[in-house]
Structure formats: structure tokens, C-alpha cells
């Protein structure tokens, strides 16, 4: 067995794709400026029927699920002691760092009274029954934990003399010694807030279609977050592998496939079983908007399930397809539950405006840019074999 070593990928940071992403970021910055100068209505189609739009649903509810790679891998590597997956740990963690940090950024754009945001941390304002408060505090804590977990990557990169001079070597030793505490908290917090993202919807009651409104929302959100976490790790590793010709992790993923397939099967059983138990199966086959969305969701979850239990799971191309389908299914589930299956009544409709979407896209572009910057300059990727130049 070889030790896991991480190496910066090296290479030019400012490449053509990087500049294109930067362009999108600039466009988003313009609209963000407008949002703060003229109000949210100037750039977004959110209304008092649909007060939650793409900024929250795409960047936070779906974005943090994409950021669950670190959570899902930590659970596997450190809690279930499947050490073979260790090479995937740090890139997954980095995905989490940006997924969550930029979800935080999106929230600050979305908060209607952002200058009061600090009230979330003031105990005398706290409203302990609020699911949103729990999500907010939990996510803030988790962002901190993610950066701390990632700190060793910075510290390894710093020259030894610099570290000694500022006492950073002691910090490095301290972090190393107590990393297991951070890891444990880093598994607990997403378990809490990802399930709570489901609990948030329990207040919706009659405004949400029974196809999505169930008391199992928290568990369904938790399972789908984990599954999406593994999906994102597969996707990320395949893309990085193809783009930078690093060693393939396909064999590792073939092993991971069983775990993911189990999660997906559990999710689908719970979803359909609960629906049948409550007597709403007819709604799924009603042939209307809600029913069809529900069936598409199920189909998108079934594709990865079948790929991952078949012999195809060892092939990178099929793994990639499975990961994409899984992420699409998980994203659609969240999008439906938060937006597309919500019926506020009174004739309200919602479709995001172009500027609103540009802000969402800009945030995602920033995420990818930072990810590229970090894997090129910091020891993130697994380098047991030297990456080809």
C-alpha cells in the first residue's frame, strides 16, 4: 500500500476556459450591483407568490447538495473506514468548500434585509423552532469546518521557515492532531442541515403537491444529498482525469458503485412506498405536470441504479453517465419540491428572469474558477503517480 500524497497540478491558471468563466462572472457582477442598487425586483422575477427563486433553490438547495462530496466521502473514508477511497477525499472536500461558501454568498445576495443578517447569530433574536435558523447556523458552522479541514492543503504548500516564523507549524500540528474532531463535526453538520432542508418544506402543507409533501422529506433530502455527494465525486474525478490526464479512478468507483446503488434503491423504495401507503400513487400517473415531473425524477434515479448494479459500472463512460443522471435526478427533486411543484394559488406563476439566472450562473462559474485555481496551485489531487505534464 502506498501513502496518499497530494500534488498541485501546475500549469497555467489563466486559460481560455478560465477567461470565458470570468466573463460570465462579470455579467453576474453587473446584475448583482443592480440588485443592491434598485432592489431584487429589478433583476429577478421572484414575487410574493414565489418568494424563493433560483438563487436559493439552485445555488443553495441544489448547490450545497453538489457540495456534499466532502461529506459523503468523509462518511465512507473516516466513519466506515474504507480507506481505499482516500485519494478522492481532498478533491471532494474542495468541492464542498466552494459549493458551500458560494451558497453562503448567494444567500447574502438573496436576503432582502442583508444588513440584518448578523441577527442570525444573536441569541436574543434566535427562534429555536425555526428550521431555517437551524439550517443557517449549521451551514455557517459547516463552511468554517470545511475551510479548517482544507487548511492542511495551504499549510503543506507554505515554506517551512514562513510557517515557523508565524507559528503556523504549530497550527498544522494542532489541526493534524485534532483533525478527527473536525471530521466528526464535518459529518454531523451536513447530516443535520441537509435533512433540515427537507424539514423546511413541512410548513408548506397544502401549497405543495402530495407527491413531494411527506413527513419523510428530511430523510429523502438526506439520502439524496449523500447520493449526489458521491455522484459529484465521480463526475469531478472523471472530468479532471480526462482534462488533465491524471491517473484514472475508474476502479475505485466500481467499488463505490455498490454504496451508491444501495442509497438510490433505498431512496426510491421510501419514495414510492410512502406514496403507495398514503394512497397517492394515482397522482404519479395522472399525466399532468406534477405527475410527469415525478416520473422524470424517478427515471433519472433509475438510470444510475441500473448502471451501477450492472457490469457496466467498471467503465468510465458509464460511470460518467450514471453520475450525470444521478445529479440531474437529485437536482430535479429539489427544484420540484422547492419551486416547480409549489402552488401558492391566486394565479401566481414563476419563471426566472435572464438577469436572475445570470447571477446564479455567475456564482457557479466562480465556483469552477476557484476550483481550477486551487487544484493547479495547491496539493489537492491524488498524485501517487506523477501526473503527466
Amino acid at each position: 500500500m502506498t501513502a496518499v500524497t497530494h500534488r498541485p497540478l501546475g500549469g497555467k491558471v489563466v486559460t481560455k476556459p478560465f477567461l470565458i468563466l470570468g466573463l460570465f462572472l462579470l455579467i453576474a457582477a453587473y446584475f448583482i450591483l443592480r440588485r443592491f442598487l434598485f432592489g431584487m425586483g429589478d433583476v429577478s422575477h421572484m414575487s410574493n407568490g414565489y418568494p424563493i427563486g433560483t438563487w436559493v433553490v439552485l445555488d443553495v438547495v441544489i448547490g450545497t447538495a453538489f457540495g456534499c462530496g466532502g461529506f459523503a466521502m468523509a462518511l465512507l473514508v473516516y466513519i466506515f473506514n474504507r480507506n481505499v477511497y482516500h485519494p478522492l477525499m481532498r478533491p471532494a472536500l474542495l468541492g464542498g468548500v466552494f459549493g458551500y461558501t458560494l451558497a453562503g454568498l448567494a444567500v447574502m445576495i438573496d436576503l432582502g434585509r442583508y444588513w440584518n443578517a448578523f441577527n442570525l447569530l444573536l441569541p436574543w433574536y434566535a427562534q429555536p423552532n425555526s428550521v431555517i435558523l437551524e439550517v443557517g447556523l449549521c451551514v455557517m458552522a459547516y463552511i468554517t469546518v470545511l475551510w479548517l479541514e482544507f487548511w492542511p492543503a495551504f499549510l503543506e504548500r507554505m515554506p517551512g521557515r514562513f510557517k515557523q516564523r508565524y507559528g503556523l507549524d504549530k497550527l498544522q500540528a494542532f489541526l493534524k492532531k485534532y483533525m478527527y474532531v473536525l471530521i466528526a463535526i464535518g459529518v454531523l453538520l451536513p447530516t443535520m442541515h441537509q435533512s433540515s432542508l427537507g424539514s423546511v418544506l413541512l410548513i408548506m402543507g397544502s401549497k405543495l403537491s402530495p407527491l413531494w409533501y411527506t413527513i419523510w422529506l428530511p430523510l429523502l433530502f438526506l439520502i439524496s444529498a449523500l447520493a449526489m455527494g458521491y455522484g459529484v465525486v465521480m463526475l469531478e474525478a472523471t472530468l479532471v482525469n480526462r482534462a488533465f490526464k491524471t491517473p484514472s479512478e475508474a476502479r475505485l468507483f466500481a467499488r463505490l458503485a455498490r454504496v451508491v446503488a444501495g442509497l438510490l434503491a433505498g431512496y426510491l423504495l421510501l419514495r414510492w412506498g410512502d406514496l403507495a401507503y398514503r394512497g397517492y400513487l394515482g397522482l404519479a400517473f395522472a399525466g399532468d405536470w406534477d405527475g410527469n415531473l415525478f416520473l422524470i425524477e424517478t427515471a433519472l434515479f433509475l438510470v444510475p441504479l441500473f448502471v451501477l448494479v450492472s457490469h457496466r459500472r467498471t467503465r468510465q463512460r458509464w460511470q460518467f453517465l450514471a453520475a450525470v443522471s444521478l445529479l440531474a435526478g437529485g437536482s430535479l427533486y429539489r427544484l420540484n419540491a422547492y419551486l416547480m411543484a409549489v402552488r401558492p394559488g391566486n394565479g401566481w406563476t414563476y419563471f426566472p428572469s435572464a438577469p436572475e439566472l445570470m447571477i446564479t450562473i455567475g456564482v457557479i462559474c466562480l465556483e469552477i474558477m476557484l476550483y481550477l485555481l486551487f487544484i493547479k496551485t495547491l496539493p489537492v489531487l491524488h498524485g501517487a503517480h506523477q501526473a503527466q505534464p
Binding site: N48, N116, V187
Partner: protein, 338 residues
């Protein structure tokens, strides 16, 4: 009240973890939070749609009393120097509005077919409000005595979950403002503190909007329902039991249910209507608040923080062991001559 219909699995710590394996014997494997009860001196309003003449005096009075701006579509902005208020629904600029139901030839008031009817839209001041349950920073509060649901903009962070979660779509965020706030009827709390009536009830010429103690209003509503439709009755105006003279008018043909008595765990505003409630935009709701479902779930999972702490303990132990064993393996690798 207070009967736990779903007792089984009570106190099961970490229900979400175990429930997947447990047989689904009941749709709700946890208790809903106990329903909230009406505060001792709960004030409210009885809105009698059959007595409303649609004059919108209450809309104008509400704007004036609460300093809310005129609302109108862009094309009417210049008309009569922009003074004509034409709000179609409650919004960031309008806390109270009269809407009209129209059907077919609209020949008779308070009739479902070929008729029309008025309905008033504003906060219903729920007994068990969703907005309070979702608000992370206690910006929404319910007065422990009067039961009025108030909003504190200095606490509010503008997350808009009150807008999202309210079953009646009442709180309205001002999307057109750079520093928007949540607009919502606070039952003229500021006027009530001076001993005055809420503006809408104060100006209502027919007593369609009637202020009073919720318990008295409920009795008044039941009294009207017991009368024969068309019979003359002296409808109190302003405040129930106040010194104002009433308005004598024929009793309406009421729907058999007083809206707000049970909806969403009960509200402090009650409606009597001639047209079915759903037609007037008053949604069908269960007799419990969804806040009780949501809080029941949270209180089960996070009871005394026992489940999360136990989970954390387990995680720390496992992570410590596995990180250690991982390090030892690495040490072996490093010590091995290469």
C-alpha cells in the same frame, strides 16, 4: 384539544435513522406539536361578506393609518395626479384589500352562479401562525394577550420564509425596494394601544368588518347563522358591544361553516360568506397548523439535542480510530526503505 392521536413511536430518538427500517404503520411516526390555544384576551375581526358593499373605505383607511403608498398599474400612474389607489391584491404597498368574485351575468350579490361577492384580504392572525414558526430571528411575534401577530423590521433579515410558508399568502416583501421590508397587517396595533379601533373596522359603514373579542365574535357569527336568511337584523358596527348604532339589514344566506374557526388551527379573523370559501380565495385547510407538523418533527429529532450529541459522540470515536489506523499505515510506508 390536546389529544395525542398518534402516540406510537413516541420518544424514539433519531426517528429518521430507525424509521426507514420500521414498518410504516402510521403516516405520522411522531407527534405533532401540541396545538396552540387562543390567547386570553384575543382580539379579532368578523368579516361578513354578505354585508360588505365593496366601498373600499377600509382599504383607504388602512393606507392612511399605516402610511402605505398608493398602488396603481403603470398605465394609470399619471391619472388624477397619481392619487387613485387601485390595488388588486395585498402587496408590499397594500396591507388590506377588497376583492370581488364574479360569475356569469353577476345579477345577484352573494350567489355562486351568475352572482358576485366581496371578500377582504389581510392577515388572519392565526392562533398557531406558520410565519412565527419559520422566522429564524423572531421578527414575527404573537402578542401573548391580544394574539396580534406583529412584525419587527429591525430583526427581519428578509429571508421571506414567512411569505413562502403562510397558508394564506399574507406577508408581502417589497421586491421593488432596494431596502425592502415585509409588509403585513398588524391589526393597527399602534391604534389599539391608544384605545382606538383598527382603521378598517372603524370606517366600515355597514359593520361588515367588525372588531371585538374573538370569543364574542364567534358567538355573534353563530347568532347570525341561526337566523333565517332575509330576516332583518341589527348588525353592530365598529366594535362588537360598542356604543355605535347598528345597521339594520337583511341576514345573508350563509355557507354552513364559519371560516377561521378551525382553519390551520384557528384564526382570529372569522369569515361569514354567501359564496363557497374557495371561490373567494380562502383555501381549504386542515384543522391543525402546518407549524405543528414542522415543529413536531424538529422536536422529535432534536429533543434536548440528545440525538445529535449521541451521533457526534459516535462519529468522534469512529473518526479518531480510523484516522489513527490510517496514520499508522502511513508511518509503516514511510519507514520502509525505498
Amino acid at each position: 384539544m390536546g389529544i395525542n392521536r398518534r402516540q406510537f413511536l413516541r420518544g424514539a430518538v433519531g426517528a429518521a435513522a430507525t424509521a426507514a427500517a420500521a414498518p410504516i404503520a402510521d403516516a405520522v411516526p411522531f407527534d405533532r406539536r401540541e396545538p396552540k390555544t387562543l390567547p386570553p384576551k384575543a382580539v379579532g375581526m368578523l368579516y361578513d361578506s354578505t354585508q360588505c358593499i365593496g366601498c373600499k373605505a377600509c382599504v383607504a383607511a388602512c393606507k392612511e393609518a399605516n402610511g402605505m403608498p398608493v398602488e396603481q398599474p403603470q398605465r394609470l400612474a399619471d391619472w388624477n395626479e397619481g392619487t387613485w389607489d387601485t390595488a388588486e391584491d395585498i402587496s408590499g404597498k397594500t396591507l388590506n384589500v377588497i376583492r370581488v368574485y364574479q360569475n356569469g351575468a353577476m345579477t345577484q350579490k352573494d350567489r355562486e352562479v351568475d352572482g358576485y361577492a366581496f371578500v377582504k384580504r389581510h392577515c388572519l392572525h392565526c392562533v398557531d401562525p406558520s410565519c412565527i414558526s419559520v422566522c429564524p430571528v423572531s421578527a414575527m411575534r404573537k402578542d401573548p394577550v391580544t394574539g396580534i401577530v406583529t412584525h419587527n423590521p429591525d430583526a427581519c433579515i428578509g429571508c421571506r420564509y414567512c411569505v413562502y410558508g403562510c397558508p394564506f399568502n399574507v406577508p408581502q416583501y417589497q421586491f421593488d425596494q432596494p431596502f425592502g421590508r415585509i409588509a403585513k397587517c398588524q391589526f393597527c396595533n399602534h391604534l389599539q394601544k391608544q384605545g382606538k379601533l383598527p382603521a378598517c373596522c372603524d370606517v366600515c359603514p355597514t359593520g361588515a368588518s367588525l372588531f371585538g373579542l374573538v370569543e364574542d365574535l364567534q358567538k355573534e357569527a353563530e347568532r347570525r347563522m341561526a337566523l333565517k336568511p332575509g330576516e332583518l337584523y341589527e348588525f353592530p358596527r365598529g366594535k362588537l358591544g360598542g356604543d355605535r348604532s347598528g345597521q339594520v339589514a337583511p341576514v345573508g344566506e350563509y355557507q354552513p361553516h364559519i371560516y377561521g374557526e378551525t382553519e390551520s388551527g384557528g384564526t382570529q379573523v372569522r369569515y361569514l360568506t354567501g359564496v363557497p370559501h374557495e371561490k373567494l380565495g380562502l383555501p381549504k385547510l386542515p384543522d391543525h397548523s402546518f407549524a405543528a407538523v414542522s415543529e413536531g418533527m424538529q422536536h422529535t429529532l432534536y429533543k434536548g439535542m440528545i440525538a445529535p450529541l449521541a451521533l457526534l459522540g459516535g462519529l468522534v470515536v469512529l473518526a479518531r480510530r480510523n484516522v489513527k489506523s490510517d496514520e499508522e499505515r502511513h508511518k509503516d510506508d514511510e519507514e520502509r526503505p525505498s
